[in-house]
């Protein structure tokens, strides 16, 4: 068959398929099933056949390309994957996230140890030798810390603080903390070094701040402030570090896979953790902006804080364990 006849014979079909594709591409996922699509799959298969024919018979490159592009577009519509979002979020929070965290417990443990050990080391050092604080933290940050948590300043700050301040700080915590977590994760790709550095840095800083504020007698405002949101916030940063280490390790020691495949698997494996980190940090920002600055009796704040820690770790350790072991 000559090319012109071939084109003449099938052009109406291509036209029809093109029209249908245009409709499909412009519609939102949820409305697509209202279109009359019963012939779409057959049409698509015919088109694949025609493309193969055009290639085999050596029709012009331009025609081949036209058919190729049409196949590509139809392919993209046919192999689209659309599950319901609400269902997926529900299952994820109920079981997916804690399972993902437990599946990678080794990385999270390394990340947590980096954070906790550096924190403990600097905390003890600063506690033993108060002047050590000046080698760990610069003076401006120290002054800033002291002014935030000095008992005398506290009273002023709290009376001045309004709802608008809460919203502003909420935005700040979202932008700053979630950004840090995402960056920590990505920097793990650099052979894990980036994630580890972030863990050590944040651990040391937290240890230094805690040790120093105890030395200057500001421990109560400090701990009543951080205890509740610390649970989701510190946990999330540690989990982001762990997920990052997982990526880095895939490149250092890919095991039986090629480095590229190992990286792909690691990224797919780490992604649920990052969705969880995002949710935890949203929660943390909410608590930190709207609960932590409230001026309540220390016993209340400590008990609420303790409840936060216990609930979070019960969730991470036991969430999604329904007896059916998954690989």
């Amino acid at each position: 068959m000559k090319q012109a006849r071939f084109e003449q014979q099938y052009r109406p079909e291509w036209q029809a398929l093109e029209n249908q594709l245009e409709q499909l591409e412009s519609l939102h996922v949820s409305k697509k099933n209202k279109l009359p699509l019963n012939t779409f799959v057959t049409d698509y298969r015919k088109l694949c056949h025609q493309l193969a024919l055009a290639r085999e018979r050596g029709y012009s490159v331009q025609l081949q390309q036209f058919l190729n592009n049409l196949v590509l577009r139809a392919h993209r519509q046919l192999y689209r994957y659309n599950p319901s979002l609400a269902d997926r979020i529900g299952t994820f929070l109920a079981s997916g996230f804690p399972r993902a965290v437990r599946r990678q417990w080794r990385w999270h443990l390394v990340s947590a140890l980096a954070f906790v050990l550096s924190m403990a080391l600097v905390w003890v050092l600063v506690h033993q030798q108060p002047e050590m604080i000046y080698t760990v933290v610069d003076e401006a940050s120290i002054a800033n810390l002291e002014s935030m948590y000095q008992p005398d300043n506290q009273a002023d700050m709290k009376s001045e603080r309004s709802g608008d301040d809460d919203v502003m700080m909420f935005g700040h915590y979202i932008q700053n903390n979630i950004g840090i977590a995402f960056r920590t994760f990505a920097s793990g790709l650099l052979l894990g070094v980036g994630a580890l550095v972030v863990m050590l840095f944040n651990g040391s800083f937290f240890g230094a701040a805690a040790g120093h504020l105890i030395n200057v007698g500001a421990q109560e405002p400090f701990f009543t402030f951080v205890i509740a949101h610390g649970a989701p916030e510190l946990t999330a940063i540690v989990l982001a570090g762990g997920a990052g280490l997982r990526l880095g390790w895939a490149i250092i020691a890919p095991g039986p896979w090629s480095r590229l495949d190992a990286l792909r698997l690691a990224a797919r494996d780490a992604l649920p953790t990052m969705y969880g980190v995002f949710s935890l940090l949203l929660l943390a920002a909410f608590i930190e902006a709207f609960w932590s600055p409230r001026d309540l009796a220390p016993t209340i704040k400590y008990s609420v804080g303790a409840v936060c820690w216990v609930l979070l770790y019960l969730y991470l350790f036991f969430g999604g364990r329904d007896g059916t072991r998954e690989g």
Partner: protein, 226 residues
């Protein structure tokens, strides 16, 4: 048809798809356009939020966060793999098998941007795209995605009836493709160049006749005997 790296992908139906990979330059330009769009959105809304005082400040920070981390992801996941910048440059992100980008795929490649941007100005990502046979940066490798050109090719429909003549030698496939390519593209060449090319096929004829003969043969290939 773009002359660029091409990648063949086989679909489950057994058809071979040919994808044309986008190199660092169109991608960098698309990124620049997106950056400009983000800055404009940020500046415009900064003016509005400024009127809301400190609460507006908080909203602005959230907006900055969303623009930084979710602008590419949301566009790529819900606008067929294209941010406005990519659309302007005619490139699109797809999975390595040519299927449309999923939300997860887009999220992985965009979360890992920080690693690609290391240490400055996407240096690491740039080096990776140059080394990678499929022009992938680190984020693309982890998400198994590709950035390809979307090509718009009009189907050839010009029917210039005229003399048509069977070729006087047994055509093989390569001959046929070369002749058809000439048929489609001869309009882009000057007459002199067309004659020069025609002489390759008919060295024994005068240039003008060679061209006439060649046109007749290519017409025969497309339309059959007159």
């Amino acid at each position: 048809m773009l002359i660029d790296e091409r990648l063949e992908v086989e679909t489950p139906e057994g058809a071979m798809l040919s994808l044309s990979l986008a190199g660092p330059v169109p991608r960098a330009l698309a990124y620049t356009i997106d950056l400009a769009i983000r800055l404009v959105i940020y500046a415009a809304l900064a003016g509005i939020f400024a009127a809301l005082g400190k609460a507006g400040m908080g909203l602005l920070l959230i907006l900055a966060f969303v623009l930084e981390w979710f602008y590419p992801t949301l566009f790529e996941a819900f606008r067929h793999g294209q941010t406005p910048g990519k659309k302007a440059m005619g490139i699109v992100v797809v999975h390595a098998n040519g299927s449309p980008l999923s939300f997860n795929g887009s999220l992985i490649r965009n979360l890992l941007r920080t690693a690609d941007a290391f240490p400055l100005f996407y240096l690491l990502g740039f080096i990776c795209t140059l080394i990678s046979p499929r022009f992938q940066r680190l984020g693309d490798m982890a998400a198994n995605t590709l950035v390809i050109h979307v090509e718009e090719t009009p189907a050839s429909s010009e029917q210039n009836r005229g003399e048509s003549l069977a070729p006087d030698w047994a055509l093989n496939r390569d001959d046929q493709l070369a002749l058809l390519a000439f048929h489609e593209r001869h309009g882009q060449f000057s007459d002199a160049r067309q004659q020069e090319l025609a002489l390759l096929a008919y060295p024994e004829l005068a240039p003008a006749q060679a061209l006439q003969r060649l046109n007749a043969v290519t017409r025969y290939l497309v339309e059959g005997p007159a």
